[in-house]
Symmetry: D2
Subunit: 272 residues, 4 copies
């Protein structure tokens, strides 16, 4: 049975929207609008146990996962959400051992998730030019225990990146089409390209440039997540919904000089 | 540079809908409606290279990923699709080293993907009662190189499972609510539960039983994937779309005897 | 040129979320957080003109449509939204001259819209048992100029309705399956049935009972509306979205005794 | 009771995907893969009755509505679908008596529906330059009984239109932004503009030009329709779905010279 130790983290869970991530130290008390939580008293308890606030409200002691660290991460930028992160991993075949190039570290939500998959032999090589973001990213990676599997580079990726033979490259820039050549150099043959594009104009430009630059299997998609209210005799979708996070553009590197005639029948095709 | 070797697999890619997965052997020829592909001749070539069929059609040599193995897997059942697999991994925090219980092996699409993430220290323990499915599952896992990280059990999970302290449990049965107790026993404290439920009736029953059986943070969701046609000056969503694959129900194990009063404000809440 | 007259209505439009519906009287001033609007001064101006608040903010003078009256209506219940109202009209073929039965008047948003289509020869016959709703409904219909085309009945429709040979019947009750016989009596041969059902349990029960009760062409659907942010070089869907309003069940009345064997090929079919 | 007469139309309905629209004449037989239907024998029967094919298959006699005429219309172009037609009517407040300008007649699916609403006092003024489309449009309008309420103009709308004081203008051209001035002239003050735009590039250009050209309340939206399989104990969305038909852009005419400063808070706003 895994017990809560000094220095570990615990997710203090009341309801899906009322939960707090805390580092456990002996004398810590957390003040919430549901009363005070005696965080120190959880030392030695099992995850999954229940305590109460000073006002008698129930708090479940949850062991935080990578998902919880990401959702509670410090951020100055829009993060990539779990639905998109998960699909990037599944669609590119990212796995234990993968070498991953990331352009645009942001607050490292994506790097945290990808590191959790590729570690311990794989590695995330991430690039950003903003020193403030890099500081936040570093703190978030350390908190989630993923800092050892991520190499952070403060360097403009437009000038080229040092990575070679990468399995997957993820570009999270406002103008992903400007680094397509650099990514082509960094990927292994048939390696996977992904761009994170909030607007339709970005997917249009990115897909157009990929076609010219030695990539095939170019696919742009969007994922929606819909929360369902599952209640006995009155199940329905939630009235609230996030309308949009981002589009994703996927492609695979091939020989640059290869003639890749766009064939008639390609238009409108999609795998089913 | 990774070269195509004898005995390895190659994805012969013409367009997104015209592609074939082949095992490479010296004399192999593949007959397609685009002409014959000389598969044996690819030995020693780099992935990402281009060859031509006897009719002069372009074929790109792509190194198959876990995604490709899953999409081209042998199957007698509906598989869980990458959008859902990726979100299960991201939402549960599944990662390298995780111990995963799966009830309902099917054709092992899910086990293949989860094994690719948790290996080499982690492990998938999967249960099914259908010997035909188990045979197909085994072949699919071997092809994708994941058989060493999956323990297959032909055993009725309603009679209990041997797994204990699992990080994540995935239930892919028609009646997931019938194994909630068994899954509670198998999970570690605050471990993650997931049920794959194509119908609304299933999510309703599953969520209702989870509330009674020592689980919190119960959330039912659905993911849609929408393909975008990104073309210069005429970008729009694809006219074709898969309308539904499955709902997913998530929860976390807590102490069974814990009073978990459903509080007023919980109704209709969701994290944003 | 249509000029604003005393006693008419004007929509004072600043932005899509800042707009007010006002009845025009000579001395009326409207106090808003954008300053005071001199409503009386609009008498004799043309719709489409611009005035300014005392704080210099622009206000466009818009002639309110049925849509504006509905969106600004007084309400104690959830209204049926324009996306659903429009589809009901289009799917049932409701048109000028139609005789419409409505069970569940609510605040008359639906009756207002339907009356605007069927008038002057057509008519809406609406039933509700709640006198408070009937009062609100009456005020809303009068404001929108539709009261003359709607017959309001305070009467429990479970006891039968007086309407016969109706072209369309719309049921907006929590348990639409309880009035299927009454609606069958009220509709003309092959007349259209519509139920407004927020939950999936309701569509399941309604569709099941319709099959037994002399109806064919039973179809359950849901409409989503997605707002797009169309801006030069950065077009994307809005981050905000209403996740769900209601499902709609459609059917057509046929002879009750008719054997209507559910044929094999009907399963899963839909028109394309 | 409405009886089927000689010269009227009947929808021969077997299942939602197997149905035929027929004009009733005394000796007519219709050959289908379900057997021969004796159409002539339906004369004098009531709508809603049942007959059988020569192979004993059930056929329901349905009175066709405007919806049925539209879905079974002759066409050489993509039609505007009922979900979009209904929302256009509901969102613009189109109603009995409205004067409607339509630019781009196509096969008159839209004109048929709009005429069914605005008749008998209202009128649709539709423009197209393609004589082939005009012929098809005329036949479709006559079949649905709406030809008397539609004025067809074979004339290039870029050169201006004769209509003035229109309540609603609908533009279904590939480049709707090229007729914004002409539509501004044709609309009454605060009249409603609608453009039918399949691509995001079209909504971007149209919205941008509307902002410059004397329009406010500019909103771009998309509607999805999702078919539900409502079956006892196994209700779920249909696996099949139409992914996209069109975007719609709405706006309202105001004084052209009016300064309409885009205010900060307008960004990202939408009515809720």
């Amino acid at each position: 049975m895994l017990k809560i130790g000094e220095g570990s983290y615990v997710l203090l869970f009341h309801t899906p929207r009322k939960k707090w991530l805390a580092k456990v130290t002996p004398d810590k008390k957390m003040h919430t609008h549901l009363g005070i939580v005696d965080v120190g008293a959880t030392i030695g308890m099992e995850y999954g146990s229940v305590i109460r606030t000073t006002e008698g409200k129930v708090i479940f002691l949850i062991e935080p996962t990578t998902h919880d660290f990401i959702m509670k991460s410090e951020r100055k930028t829009q993060i990539v959400y779990p639905k998109d992160l998960g699909f990037i991993a599944a669609r590119t075949g990212m796995k234990n051992g993968s070498k991953v190039l990331e352009i645009g570290t942001g607050s490292a939500a994506a790097a945290t998730f990808f590191a959790s998959i590729v570690k311990p032999e794989g590695r995330i090589h991430t690039y950003d030019v903003n020193p403030d973001f890099m500081e936040i990213a570093k703190r978030n990676l350390e908190k989630a225990g993923m800092a050892d599997y991520v190499t952070m580079n403060r360097h403009d990726p437009h000038e080229g990146v040092d990575v070679r033979e990468a399995d997957v490259a993820i570009v999270d820039l406002g103008d992903p089409w400007t680094v397509i050549d650099q990514v082509h150099d960094a990927l292994k043959g048939s390696g996977a390209f992904v761009a994170i594009c909030p607007t339709m104009n970005q997917i249009e430009k990115t897909a157009t440039e990929l076609k010219k630059g030695g990539f095939v299997d170019i696919e742009s998609i969007e994922l929606f997540i819909r929360v369902m209210e599952a209640r006995e005799g009155m199940t329905r979708p939630s009235m609230r919904m996030i309308g949009h996070t981002t589009y994703l553009v996927f492609a695979r590197k091939v020989q640059k000089k290869a003639e890749a005639p766009v064939e008639e029948e390609e238009a409108g095709e999609q795998e089913e």
